[in-house]
Amino acid sequence: MTKEEVKQVGRLFKKLFILLVLLFVFDRIIGTLLENAYKNAPQGDIKTFAHSITDPTEDIFIYGSSRAVHGYDPEIFTDSLGLSCFNSGRENSNILYHSSILKEMLKKHTPKIIVLDVSAKELTWRSAENSKAVLASMILPYVSRDTSFKNIARQLFPDELRKAEVSKIYAYNSLVLSLAIGKRKMKHTKNLHGYVPLHGNKVRGKIPAFTDDNDKTDPLATQEFEDFVKETKANNILLYVIQSPILVKHFNTSISLDTIRSILTKYNEPFWDYAFDTAFYKKEYFYDNLHLNTTGATLFSEKLVSDIKADIEKNEPQLLNHPQSSK
């Protein structure tokens, strides 16, 4: 290299250094702003997640994906059972997410009842990598201040953890709009304990068939499901695994449901299938083919609560009289 070239390399390094410093400063400033916005987030996915892991107090927790978020009204559970209830469902999630949240929650609080909504593709529809991405988006903002989350991240997505440790903004990747728009939209929304009602009906045309091209379940998802059942059993929590109503052509079972049933049988836990319950199999109760609307969710929640109540009165009557337990 000539002297002139060395000089030009020095100039490049100087400019790159300035850029890196600027990037670091802006990363910290914007990252801190996002951190505050995240902490003060109103209702929605972020708040639901934060409540479930930081200050859970309720007697009943509902877990599941979007079908849980829009299909289970906690107020109906509380009114009927006299037990406080929170819907901890999360759009786009699967058992990996629920299992991690449950483990974290049990460190602070043991609910009396857990309702887990599963779908016919529960153990197949998301690959382990996709499931981890959903979980990562929720967990990464906490890794800098919570060692247990850091451990989960280190175990499941170490690369993501490394990136989040380098860049403060990266921990909030893909959450910017949720924070900005969600805050504006949710500002005047009533706190529905995690439940997000869907109004109206967008079901059109013929009822579609159920399809699942996967011929085997995801091993990680299957393991997490079994862990979920084991955790509830070990903590004496009453577990109800439910398949909520769905508006697709009738099918009997799926590879996911078969696996779920066999695991539940192994641990002597019930599986209640309302998928094609004639009481709900009507277009007017659905927002779209997969999600109940407010009318459907109310009817379904009432029916489910009455079934749970009957079951508890028969098998665990003391549960309805005891105060909630907190660690």
Binding site: Q8, L23, S178
Partner: protein, 473 residues
Amino acid sequence: MLFNSLEFVGFFIIVTSLYFVLPHKFRWLLLLLSSCYFYMDFIPIYILVLAFTIVIDYFAGILIERSAGAKRKWFLRMSIVANIGILGFFKYFNFFNDNISFALKMFDFTNPVTDLSFILPIGLSFHTFQAMSYTIEVYRGNQKAERKFGIYALYVMFYPQLVAGPIERPQNVIHQFYEPKKFEYNRVVAGLKIVLWGFFKKLVIADRLSIYVNAVYNNPYHHSGETLIVATFFFWFQIYCDFSGYSDIAIGTAKIMGIELMENFRRPMLAGSIQGIWNRWHLSLYTWFKDYVYQPLAMKARRNRTKLLSYVVLIFLLSGFWHGANWTYIIWGGFSGLSLVAERIYRDKVKPQKYISKLWMKILGTIIAFSVTGISCLFFRANSVKDALHICKSIFTMKHGALFKGSPPINFYYYILVAVMLVSVELFQEYLPQVKLIGNKNVVIRYTGYVLILMVILMIGIFNGSQFIYFQF
């Protein structure tokens, strides 16, 4: 090794630093060895396939140059047969075998030949075409046969464009390997800016939109016509940013080392006509077909218009087949060729420029060309012909249903946001090139641009290390 991986960042820094530190006479060796490492990071054994074509074409080039008359042509044909043979074996064997099985089944026969099970060597279509351009150019006398084996091997293997182009011509690249390249600050920064914009297109736009497109196209029977239209146009944006993003990273990294690669995309969505789009889209491939297939045919056809137009369709059918061994690509190619021919006939017969102002011609042309090529994209993306036909039917009958907004629905705003970002930047680049952000002379604006782009990448980029779509070709 993927460009969008931390491994590549490390590789690039080490190779580029060594490149400038080493004396010029050793640089070709460094680039060749690093290109071998880059390629072998995917599936090491396939380097032998690449080595085979390199050896064949290296000697073919020398023999073509030394020979005359029919012998010269014979060596060229041998080289082309060897290249096409390898491509055909690895890429098209199963396709033809499956179609033969299907045809035999109709007559109640069973095909005794079973499919081969192996993974397609990465970037096979690219480096095969690049190798063929060498022997053809030597045959035509536009390029001297390269005597130094290492330099010829580097021409085929130069890592920035090895697996997804641009498909280079020997007269553009080979001489550059002989020229001593100095470290020039301005050139290196210009290269880094191209790389930065390439990463933005890949991580922020292409990979973001792929979430929606994959969700819809992997379940087309569950979605409304409205959703399928949106997904199809999102795919247009996705594939453009995925491929042009890759090309930008390739061109930028080569530029940093002083090697100028050919332009591959020139804002095709703003072309104003279907022909314009193809004059700005994947330039290195379509000029390859034009130079080596269309022009020799057109010379023979003289001025027979029907023949010339049918050759246009043929070129597009071939380009569809080049993309993949699947009927969806062939239909896509045929559709693209026919739409181009239809536009030419319409422009010649109707002469719309007589009735419409230039501005409106541009606006309407842009909308129509974007829509037609957008619709053709559905064949490119659909998982099967059956799916593609279903999607077409759903779109044209406007199958009822809600607009799918992604899961969670807030993601839809990201898709809109990144599409708007792309269109805005390209509009500025096309119509107001004097307005610059990272190319601005004002240091404050320039650095604001750098920080802004990097912040957006960190905030909404997708970092799952997804493969570039064109790697599969």
